[in-house]
């Protein structure tokens, strides 16, 4: 209780005795389509399903959690106050678990404008499950609304809180896990720098090793995209049975992707032209594509490459001779001091094809048939023998 008390989540003192909960939305906001509200509310519940065995099923009639969008005084003695101020409130399990949202707010979906419905709902459902407010500023259960976060995820404080109530996740419930048809002999990500091993799998990347983008999936697999096709990389080469079609696995994703990255929330973002997509595993994660200008304000279209840099965990975008840093926890996410010249990354060329942080923690830049390994401490391309640039075909595709 003292000021020097460690900051952390707080449990109200009650929780549900069952883990399969039902809910219904009895009153909708006027300015959003019902189907969109349904989707966002389910997504908000799924946040908690991701770390526990809780499941949330919409149904009519008698339910555990009732959701309503209301104006002003709405029958529970805790009136809403119009736009701003109080956005919503919810009742702990012992008081019924219901969640009420102030209908006078400008509720929005995937936008910096208005008040983000998904984030506020995920917070309120934390109360419906028995979590009180946390004094960890960046936690979802902190009391203050912190603005739209395109790469939202629970803070460890939130995860510890909900697992203190309902235990860790033991089964694959809720959102289906990526049905990665590549569950076959993928490598485990324990990596050295890839060594040369001729692969019988496929030689098109040997003949022309220039590609569109490369990224690690949340499961730890490394994928290379080129045109309509993709390859999975093993520890030292291309996995057998490739290439495959992007459209057969990342349903809804086009070919000729400009850039990609996988963020710490486990989601992979793809960029092409003025649009971007977000996937969880190989499953699109919401209504996509969206405009880059909408979800990544300050970042240009027609990108060359993107990555999450091993040096600071921030997101970097590259185009022509310039780069931008995008920090979703900052407002604005791109400082006015950007773009900056790529030459700041000592030894890295302009007009890149791709860049990513490999599972060995190094950052690799790719251009044409060659690649560069970056030394974060020296903040320069690694000065090793053999020197960089090195042949992508030889070192990455086993040619």
């Amino acid at each position: 209780t003292g000021d020097n008390r460690a900051k952390r989540y707080a449990l109200q003192g009650s929780r549900w005795k069952v883990k399969d909960l039902t809910y219904k939305i009895s009153k909708y906001p006027s300015k959003l389509k019902r189907a969109e509200v349904d989707k966002e509310i389910q997504r908000a519940f799924d946040v908690w399903t991701g770390y526990t065995d809780l499941t949330f099923t919409p149904k009519s009639g008698q339910v555990h959690i009732e959701i309503r969008f209301e104006y002003g005084e709405h029958g529970d003695g805790d009136p809403f106050d119009g736009p701003g101020g109080t956005l919503a409130h919810a009742y702990f399990p012992v008081f019924g678990g219901d969640a009420h949202f102030d209908a006078s707010e400008a509720w929005s979906i995937n936008s910096y404008k208005g008040t983000n419905l998904f984030q506020v709902a995920a917070h309120e459902f934390g109360h419906s499950l028995g979590l009180s407010h946390s004094d960890v500023r960046q936690a979802l259960m902190a009391p203050f609304y912190r603005g739209y976060d395109p790469v939202f995820d629970l803070d460890t404080d939130d995860i510890e809180g909900i697992q203190a109530l309902y235990g860790k996740k033991t089964m694959k419930t809720g959102p289906r896990f990526g049905d990665d048809d590549d569950q076959d002999g993928g490598f485990d990500g324990s990596h050295d720098v890839p060594s040369k091993t001729p692969s019988s799998a496929d030689h098109s990347l040997c003949d022309d090793p220039k590609f569109d983008t490369i990224f690690n999936s949340a499961e730890g697999y490394t994928y290379v995209f080129k045109g309509e096709k993709y390859w999975k990389l093993t520890e030292n080469s291309v996995a057998p049975g490739y290439p495959k079609l992007i459209s057969d696995n990342w349903i809804g994703l086009p070919g000729n992707i400009d850039a990609s990255f996988t963020y710490k929330n486990g989601k992979t973002y793809f960029f092409k032209g003025s649009k971007y997509w977000r996937y969880k595993g190989k499953r699109v994660d919401g209504l996509y594509p969206k405009e880059i200008s909408e979800g990544f304000t300050g970042i240009p279209d027609d990108l060359d490459a993107s990555m999450v840099w091993s040096g600071n965990g921030k997101i970097y975008f590259f185009k022509g001779s310039k780069f931008w840093r995008f920090d979703p926890s900052q407002r604005p996410p791109v400082k006015s001091t950007y773009p900056k010249p790529i030459s700041n990354w000592d030894g890295v060329p302009n007009n890149l094809n791709a860049v990513f942080q490999w599972t060995n923690g190094y950052t690799y830049f790719f251009k044409d048939n060659a690649y560069y390994r970056f030394n974060d401490r020296a903040f320069a391309v690694d000065a090793t023998t053999p020197a960089f640039p090195r042949s992508s075909a030889y070192w990455w595709f086993g040619c």
């Binding site: 000021d3 900051k7 707080a10 109200q12 003192g13 805790d78 809403f80 106050d81 119009g82 736009p83 701003g84 101020g85 109080t86 956005l87 919503a88 409130h89 919810a90 702990f92 008040t115 506020v120 917070h123 309120e124 109360h127 009180s132 407010h133 004094d135 500023r137 009391p143 203050f144 609304y145």
Partner: protein, 77 residues
């Protein structure tokens, strides 16, 4: 209630009471409160919100009190 206007002491009393830092006042009457209780409530709010704990209704505290937020109390009995 105040929205966006910098809260005065009476508004701050409402806020602190609404979010569990002070005993709820009956809607139709206001009760006398000693300075120490009020100061302690402000200190508790400042500590919870990650502000400098001054016990004064300073500008940072006032700004935080007008931020959009959840209506559930911070301090639950």
């Amino acid at each position: 209630k105040f929205v966006n206007a910098a809260p005065s002491d009476s508004n701050a009393l409402l806020y602190l009471s609404q979010f569990g830092y002070l005993a709820p006042s009956k809607g139709n009457s206001s009760h006398l409160m000693d300075e120490k209780t009020y100061r302690k409530a402000i200190e508790d709010f400042q500590a919870f919100a990650g502000l400098e704990v001054t016990g004064e209704l300073d500008s940072d505290t006032q700004k935080t009190m007008v931020l959009p937020r959840c209506g559930v109390k911070d301090k639950v009995g």
